[in-house]
C-alpha cells in the first residue's frame, strides 16, 4: 500500500512540474512554485537530518571506544550548530569559526592535495609505463608551462598563447562536452523513469 501511493505522488508531482514548464497557465505555474518551495525547504531540512545521521554514526563509534576523531567531529559539529543558531550566521563568533578554522583547514587540504597530485604524477610512470601515461604527463607539463611565468623569461609565447588555449578549448572542451551530453541524456532518462514509475529512488 505504501509503495503505490508514493509512486503515484512522485509521478503526479513530476508531471505537474513538467507541465508547468511547457504550459504557462497560472494553475500550473502556481502549483509548480508551491511544490518547488516545498522542495527547497525539504532540501534545507535534509541538511539537518544528515547532520543527525552523521552524529548517530559517530556516536556509535564513540560508544564502541573506537575513535577519538569521532568524538572531536561530534563535538565540533554541534558546537558550531549551537553557536551559529544562537549568535546568528553573520555574528562575530560565527565568522570567527569560519575564518579561523574552516577556511584555513580547507585551503590547507587543497595545498596538501597539490603535493599529493604531484607525487602521484611522479609515481605514475613507474607503476604504469605506457602511452597514455606519457600523454597525460606531457599534457600536464604543457598546461602548467602555459599558465605560469618563468622567472627571468616570462610567458612562453607559443605555449601560452597557442598551445595551452588549444589544449584547453579543443581536446579538453571536446571531452568535457561529450561528458555533458552524456549527463544530459542520463538526466532525461532518469526523469522519464521516475515519471513512468519504473525507477523509485524514494522507496526502499
Amino acid at each position: 500500500m505504501k509503495a503505490p501511493v508514493a509512486t503515484a505522488v512522485a509521478m503526479a508531482v513530476g508531471i505537474v512540474v513538467l507541465v508547468g514548464y511547457f504550459i504557462p497557465l497560472s494553475i500550473f505555474t502556481g502549483l509548480r512554485m508551491l511544490l518547488l518551495q516545498w522542495a527547497i525547504i525539504l532540501a534545507g531540512a535534509a541538511l539537518f537530518v544528515g547532520m543527525v545521521n552523521l552524529s548517530q554514526h559517530h556516536w556509535a563509534r564513540i560508544r564502541a571506544r573506537r575513535g577519538v576523531g569521532s568524538a572531536w567531529l561530534v563535538f565540533s559539529l554541534w558546537a558550531t550548530f549551537f553557536i551559529t543558531f544562537y549568535f546568528a550566521p553573520a555574528s562575530l563568533p560565527t565568522r570567527w569559526l569560519f575564518d579561523a578554522i574552516l577556511l584555513p583547514a580547507s585551503v590547507a587540504l587543497l595545498g596538501v592535495l597539490a603535493v599529493s597530485l604531484t607525487v602521484a604524477a611522479v609515481r605514475l610512470p613507474r607503476r604504469r609505463p605506457g602511452l597514455f601515461t606519457i600523454l597525460f604527463l606531457t599534457t600536464t607539463v604543457l598546461i602548467l608551462l602555459g599558465s605560469i611565468g618563468i622567472p627571468g623569461v616570462g610567458s612562453l609565447p607559443f605555449v601560452s598563447n597557442l598551445l595551452r588555449p588549444w589544449l584547453a578549448q579543443v581536446p579538453a572542451a571536446a571531452g568535457a562536452r561529450g561528458i555533458l551530453l552524456g549527463v544530459a541524456l542520463g538526466t532525461v532518462a532518469t526523469g522519464l523513469r521516475i515519471l513512468l514509475g519504473s525507477d523509485r529512488p524514494y522507496s526502499e
Binding site: 512554485m33 518547488l36 518551495q37 522542495a39 527547497i40 532540501a43 534545507g44 541538511l47 550566521p89 553573520a90 560565527t94 565568522r95 569560519f98 575564518d99 574552516l102 577556511l103 580547507s106 585551503v107 587540504l109 587543497l110 596538501v112 597539490a114 603535493v115 604531484t118 607525487v119 604524477a121 611522479v122 609515481r123 605514475l124 610512470p125 613507474r126 607503476r127 604504469r128 609505463p129 605506457g130 601515461t133 606519457i134 604527463l137 600536464t140 607539463v141 602548467l144 599558465s147 605560469i148 611565468g149 618563468i150 622567472p151 627571468g152 623569461v153 616570462g154 610567458s155 601560452s160 598563447n161 584547453a168 578549448q169 579538453a172 572542451a173 571531452g175 568535457a176 562536452r177 555533458l180
Partner: protein
C-alpha cells in the same frame, strides 16, 4: 452385334464381322488358308521345310498315314478334324508332326512310356534323397499332380495332352531353354526335366521349326514341384546356356584354372555383421583397428545403430561404478604415456607457480613514499617563499590578452550607477584564495559604481564566504550598506529555478533582516531579470552549468550573465562563452584572468597580487620540473622493471577486468 439377319451356318456376321458362333473350350485352332503368304517366307524357312519333307519321304515310319490313304476320319467325332497339311500353310508341318506322333506304333509308344516311368522314378528318388531338411510336401507333388490330372475334365485333359504332344516336338536347343527358363522358379523346372529330356531325345529332328506353344503353359507336374529344390543339372544347364560372347568376357584365370581371385572370393562371400572387409579395415585408424581387433570375445556386440555388429566398442557400465544417488567417478584411471605425464606435470607446476604471491619487491616502499612526499612538499614551499627573499626569482606578470576578460570588462562598464547586481558566491572555502583574487577587481568596480549588490550562495558555507569575500575587499565595504547578504539558497537546481523567477517566494527573509524586500537593494526586484547584472563566482563546472541552465533563461536579453571561474573549470565553461548565443557574456578565469582584467583596466597591481602571482607561478614551475624530471626517471625504471618482471597481469589489465 449389329442385329442384322445372317445365314444359319455363318460363323461371322457379314455386316459387322462379329463372330456368331462362340469358341468352346477344347476347340482346336482351325487352319487358315495362308498359301498367299508362302512367298513372303524367308528362304531359310523354306529350306527347312524342304528338308523335312525330304526326310519324311526317305524315312517313312511304320503305320504312317500318307496322303494316299486319304483316311481323314481318324479323328473321333466331336473333335474338330485335323486339317490336311497345306503346302501354302507354314504351320502345316506342325500339324503333320502331331499326326505322326499320334500315329506312332505301340512298341514305340510303350518305349516312350517306360522311359517316362523310369525318369519319373529317378526324379522321385532325387527329390526324396536331399529332402531330409525339407518339408515333406516337396516329395508329394508328383502323385498329387497325377491325381489332379486324373481329376481334370475331358476338355482340359485333352488340352494338356495336346500341350504335351507339342512339347515333345520341341528341338534340342528349345527343350533346354524350356528347362532353363524357370531358373528363377526352380521348382517348376526341376520335376519335369528328366522326362522331358528323354522325350525330346526321342523326338525326330524334323520337328525343328514346328509350332511352339507358349512356355507358360507348362505341364501341371512342373507346377507341383517344390520351389526349394536345387539341382546341379539345373546349374549345368544354366552354365551351358551362357552364350559364347559372354563366356569370352569371363576372366581367363577362371576359365583356365577355375580358381577365383581373393577379391572375387571376398565379393562372393557374403559379409556378416561385425566383420569388415580387408580394404575397409585397412582404411581405419590403427588404434581403432587394434582396439576393435583386440577386444575380448566376452565383450558385448552392438546390436543396433551404426556400430551394430562391432564388439567391445562401448564399454558397458558395470554395477560397481553405478551408485544410486551419487555421481560416481567416471572414466577410472587415465591411461597416459610418459610424455603426456611429463607435460601434465609441467602444466601443474606452472599453475602452482602462478598462484604464488608476488614478491614484495614490486610493492612500493612506504618509507620511500614518505620521503618523496616530504621532499615534494618542501620543494614547493621553498619555491613559494624564495621569491620574497630573492627578487630575481619573481615571475613576470602575464601578458596574455583574454577575449573573455575583455567582454567581462565591457559588461561591468555597462552596469548603470546604483543598479541592482546579483553576485553568487558559489565556491568552496578551499578555493577562496583563487576566487577572491580573480573576482575582486570586478566587484570592486561594481562597488565603485555604487551598485546595489545582492549576494547569494548555493553552498552551505555561502553566508560566511560572502562576508569573508567583502571583508577581504576592504574594511570600507559593510554589509547592508554596500551589499546585502541573502545567505544560503537551498534546493540545488530547483532552488535556482525558483529563485530566478520568484525570488520573493524563495527568500521570505534574510539573516538579520526582517523586511528585505522593502530595502533599497530588493525593492525593485521581482524576478532575476530585474537585476542589471548577474555575476557568478564559482570553481565548480557543475555549479556554473546549473546557473546557465536554470537562471540564464529567466534573465532575458537585458541582464547579462558574467562568470568568474577557476582554471580547472575553464574547459567546461568556456564553450558557453564561445558559442554564438553567448549564454555567458564574459568570463574571468583564475588568477591570470584577474590580472588580465586589471591590465585591461590599466590599474597597477597591488603588492599582494604580485606576491600571489609569484608564489603561484613558482609552485607551478616547481611541480612542473618535479613531474618532468622524476617522471622521466620513473618511466625508464618502470619500463625496465616490466621488461624484467615475469609476464603477469598488470594493473591496467586488472582494472579493465574490474570495469
Amino acid at each position: 452385334m449389329c442385329g442384322k439377319p445372317n445365314p444359319a451356318d455363318a460363323e461371322v456376321c457379314r455386316y459387322c464381322h462379329a463372330r456368331l458362333k462362340p469358341i468352346q473350350p477344347g476347340d482346336l485352332p482351325q487352319p487358315k488358308p495362308t498359301g498367299a503368304l508362302e512367298a513372303m517366307l524367308p528362304p531359310w524357312i523354306r529350306e527347312l521345310r524342304a528338308e523335312s519333307e525330304m526326310e519324311e519321304e526317305t524315312l517313312p515310319l511304320p503305320g504312317e498315314k500318307t496322303e494316299a490313304d486319304g483316311s481323314e476320319g481318324a479323328f473321333p467325332e466331336g473333335e474338330s478334324a485335323s486339317p490336311e497339311p497345306d503346302a501354302d500353310d507354314p504351320l502345316a508341318a506342325l500339324w503333320a508332326e502331331e499326326e505322326e506322333d499320334e500315329d506312332l506304333p505301340d512298341w514305340l509308344k510303350s518305349l516312350g512310356t517306360e522311359e517316362e516311368a523310369s525318369a519319373v522314378a529317378a526324379l522321385a528318388e532325387e527329390q526324396a534323397a536331399p529332402s531330409a531338411g525339407e518339408p515333406p510336401e516337396a516329395a508329394e507333388p508328383k502323385g498329387a499332380a497325377e491325381e489332379e490330372e486324373s481329376a481334370l475334365p475331358d476338355w482340359l485333359a485333352g488340352e494338356q495332352s495336346a500341350a504335351e504332344a507339342e512339347e515333345a516336338v520341341l528341338p534340342d536347343w528349345l527343350a533346354e531353354g524350356v528347362v532353363a527358363e524357370p531358373a528363377g522358379e526352380p521348382a517348376e523346372a526341376a520335376a519335369p526335366k528328366g522326362a522331358a529330356e528323354e522325350e525330346e531325345n526321342a523326338l525326330p529332328d524334323g520337328s525343328v521349326g514346328a509350332y511352339q506353344p507358349p512356355l507358360v503353359e507348362a505341364p501341371s507336374e512342373s507346377l507341383s514341384a517344390s520351389p526349394f529344390v536345387e539341382s546341379e543339372e539345373l546349374a549345368e544347364a544354366l552354365l551351358g546356356e551362357t552364350p559364347d560372347w559372354l563366356q569370352m568376357l569371363a576372366p581367363e584365370e577362371e576359365s583356365a584354372s577355375g580358381e577365383k581371385s581373393p577379391a572375387e572370393e571376398e565379393v562372393a562371400q557374403p559379409l556378416t555383421e561385425g566383420e569388415l572387409p580387408s580394404w575397409l579395415e585397412a582404411l581405419r585408424p590403427v588404434a581403432a583397428a587394434t582396439s576393435v581387433l583386440a577386444t575380448d570375445e566376452e565383450e558385448p556386440v552392438e546390436t543396433q545403430g551404426p556400430l551394430a555388429g562391432l564388439r567391445g566398442v562401448i564399454a558397458p557400465p558395470t554395477l560397481t561404478t553405478l551408485r544410486p544417488g551419487k555421481v560416481g567417478v567416471l572414466g577410472g584411471k587415465l591411461k597416459l604415456s610418459d610424455e603426456e605425464e611429463r607435460q601434465a606435470r609441467i602444466l601443474q607446476d606452472l599453475i602452482a607457480e602462478s598462484s604464488r604471491p608476488l614478491p614484495p619487491s614490486s610493492l612500493p616502499d612506504k618509507k620511500e613514499q614518505k620521503v618523496l612526499r616530504w621532499s615534494v612538499g618542501l620543494l614547493m614551499l621553498l619555491a613559494a617563499f624564495l621569491p620574497f627573499f630573492l627578487p630575481f626569482l619573481r615571475a613576470p606578470l602575464p601578458r596574455r590578452v583574454l577575449p573573455a576578460a575583455i567582454a567581462a570588462q565591457r559588461l561591468i562598464d555597462d552596469v548603470p550607477q546604483g543598479a541592482p547586481v546579483l553576485v553568487a558566491v558559489d565556491y568552496s572555502p578551499a578555493f577562496s584564495a583563487e576566487m577572491e583574487a580573480a573576482a575582486a577587481p570586478l566587484v570592486t568596480d561594481l562597488l565603485a559604481k555604487h551598485a546595489r549588490i545582492v549576494a547569494v550562495s548555493t553552498q552551505p558555507t555561502g553566508p560566511d564566504l560572502i562576508s569573508h569575500f567583502f571583508a577581504a575587499l576592504g574594511s570600507d565595504y559593510r554589509e547592508s550598506e554596500h551589499y546585502l547578504n541573502l545567505g544560503y539558497l537551498s534546493g540545488g537546481t530547483a532552488g535556482l529555478y525558483a529563485f530566478a523567477r520568484h525570488p520573493r517566494l524563495v527568500f521570505g527573509y534574510a539573516a538579520g533582516h526582517d523586511r528585505i524586500w522593502n530595502t533599497s537593494f530588493l525593492s525593485t526586484i521581482h524576478t532575476a531579470a530585474d537585476f542589471s547584472l548577474v555575476l557568478v563566482i564559482t570553481e565548480d563546472p557543475e555549479t556554473a552549468r546549473a546557473w546557465v541552465e536554470q537562471v540564464r533563461p529567466a534573465l532575458g536579453e537585458h541582464t547579462p550573465l558574467l562568470m568568474v571561474i577557476s582554471t580547472q573549470a575553464e574547459p567546461l565553461v568556456e564553450p558557453y562563452y564561445e558559442t554564438a548565443s553567448q549564454q555567458v557574456g564574459g568570463i574571468v578565469t583564475g588568477i591570470v584572468g584577474g590580472l588580465a582584467y586589471e591590465a585591461i583596466r590599466g590599474r597597477p597591481l597591488t603588492a599582494a597580487a604580485q606576491a600571489q602571482w609569484g608564489a603561484y607561478s613558482n609552485i607551478a614551475l616547481m611541480g612542473l620540473m618535479i613531474i618532468a624530471g622524476a617522471g622521466l626517471v620513473n618511466l625508464v625504471l618502470g619500463w625496465r622493471e616490466r621488461r624484467n618482471a615475469p609476464t603477469l597481469p598488470q594493473d591496467e589489465d586488472l582494472d579493465d577486468e574490474e570495469a
